[in-house]
């Protein structure tokens, strides 16, 4: 049984209501379903504004879904409230993108971590300190760092503190919302390796959100590709990266700049921007930018279906 099951999840934001007009919604996440196994990393890619961060934030209940189920270990967390929700938060945590903005500048690392531990565990002061030491070493920092403040750290070190904070309560799964986008390549590699190591040691599961497909492929077992609030392709990371079926995934892959000058391929350059989710195109939401769009795409919405011969690889496109 999978650790996390997401069923038809919808996160809509109500827009300003005008008189005599029906209520309009911005459908940031619109009917997303997927599963996440124990000790698995699922990568989530897409352009900005496609709803990937909203999906991640909904899974850890920083946003409230309007419909759908999120089940962790048989418990539906989508409808939890108050005390029950606070208790359940011990099972899921989040690492944020911006290591500068997500730590309180007035709190030392010790207080940042202590706050989480005091809230979620029954350890006494001594026990909490021991746990903090364990955490800080696990993310590759030293005891002396506990007494410093966020401004005394580099970006990579701050991201390590964010990871330690998420790990503090021994959660079952962590949403990592673009944890390496703000970092330099050499530091980015350190953080990616750290996340892989932690997973091997603790058997934790990750939902890894990023816009860089090369990074996502590197860390993930499976990949979900999102466009305008829906999943357009999902499958094992090698299937999605080597045998992409959806034209959007193909375009994303070809847009990643490659290092090897000899394999520089002709890029598929997508025209235009992501349409506004307030006013999505009819039919397949990708059809105005798709170079293979047909008449049918303008009116009908393709469903997410398995690719012939590989049931794990799904795509929402009429071409397949």
């Amino acid at each position: 049984m999978p650790l996390l099951t997401v069923e038809n999840l919808k996160t809509w934001y109500p827009m300003k209501k005008e008189w005599f007009k029906p209520q309009e919604f911005l459908k940031a996440v619109d009917g997303v379903s997927f599963t996440l196994d124990k000790a698995e990393t699922v990568g989530l890619v897409g352009e900005s504004g496609c709803g990937k961060s909203t999906l991640g934030r909904t899974l850890v209940r920083l946003e409230n879904p309007v419909a759908g189920d999120v089940t962790i270990n048989g418990e539906d967390i989508a409808k939890l409230k108050g005390n029950a929700l606070r208790k359940a938060r011990g099972e899921f945590q989040i690492i944020f993108q911006d290591p500068y903005g997500s730590l309180n500048p007035r709190m030392s690392v010790l207080r940042t971590l202590d706050e989480v531990l005091a809230l979620h565990t029954n350890l006494d002061k001594q026990g909490r300190y021991m746990r903090m030491l364990e955490l800080i070493v696990m993310v590759g920092l030293k005891e002396e760092h506990l007494h410093r403040y966020p401004h005394q750290f580099s970006g990579g070190q701050r991201q390590r503190i964010g990871i330690a904070r998420a790990l503090a309560v021994e959660p079952e799964f962590i949403v990592a919302d673009e944890p390496v986008s703000a970092l330099d390549v050499s530091v980015q590699a350190q953080i990616i390796n750290l996340l892989i190591d932690i997973q091997e040691k603790t058997g934790i599961s990750f939902l890894f959100i990023a816009h860089d497909l090369a990074v996502v492929e590197h860390i993930s077992h499976r990949i979900l590709v999102m466009y305008l609030g829906r999943i357009v392709e999902s499958g094992s990371s090698s299937a999605v990266c080597k045998n992409a079926k959806h034209p959007y995934t193909q375009a994303l892959l070809s847009a990643v700049p490659t290092l090897d000058p000899e394999t520089r391929k002709k890029r598929i350059v997508l025209p235009g921007d992501v349409p506004s989710p307030l006013n999505p195109p009819s039919g397949c939401p990708f059809h105005p930018r798709c170079h293979q769009a047909m008449e049918k795409c303008k009116t009908e919405v393709p469903a997410l279906k398995s690719v012939k011969g590989s049931p794990d690889h799904q795509t929402a496109c009429f071409l397949e």
Binding site: V185, E217, S237, C241, L259, P261, R264, R267, V269
Partner: protein
Amino acid sequence: MTIVDVNKLSIEFKVDGQWLPAVNNISFDVKKGEIVALVGESGCGKSVTCMALARLLPEPPARYASGEIMLHGKSVLTLKNRELRDIRRHHIGYIFQEPSVSLNPVFRVGDQIAEAVLLRKDASSSDVKNEVIELLDQVGISDPEKRIKSYPHQLSGGMQQRIMIAMALAGKPDILVADEPTTALDVTIQAQILDLLCEIREKRDMSIILVTHNLGIVADMADRVVVMYAGHTVESANTDELMKNPKHPYTQALLSAVPKLGHSDEKLTTIPGTVPSPANYPDGCRFFGRCALAEKMIKSESELLCEKSVPDWREIKKGHFCRCHYSQ
């Protein structure tokens, strides 16, 4: 023909009463129609170098300690203000990282571009509007007649960057300095902007200095690469040569730290430690302490050499420069 020639340039900043080096003794040149990439991690001095080309750094706190910059045959560091303005108007154009910050939010984009056009000496005020529309058309903005009336917040990030490029082109410069032009954009939009830059280069036979930390973009776009580390240039060569045959241990480490599509089973190599801060740069090679090659050469003598003396900027192969005691 050489458009930009930077020769042994050093720039320092005054911080708390102390002069700290931002870039040290760097040399490179850019020829006509060439794309030269400056790569390196944050804080290595690539942006400072770019700003220095048109002397845009505020003095003080900045100070040009030594060296010279030749732009269009003129020594930028000795020019008077009026001549500098001339250089900035006609010879050099800038695009910055964050287009939403670089544009003025309270003016229509058409007016902002018109301002840049009117600064040019040969511009006539009567057909400014047509020229603005033509510029927008060139940078791939559809429906330019309507778009000139938009405010920056009404445009997406990709469109805003196109407006910035149009403004930079308004002065018909010989050289375009693009300082991380796509860092704030999505990969798909990044591909559009990079294509546009290539197209402009081809049409106008313009030189481009591309500052980036993304080695993929470098491999894709640049003719020549200059790698910087902690204020030093550490390696420079043709793109193909550098990608296939990197000599400096830092370049090698940087290249292997990039995740590559289709190689997900290999573990990423990391560089231990962090970049030193300008206040405590080592006396010798700035990469000492993180360098895998120096570790291999652990024999006391060689280690002293790396620790005590800065390696020379030497040509190991024709057109391939490297700042390292041991690489060959």
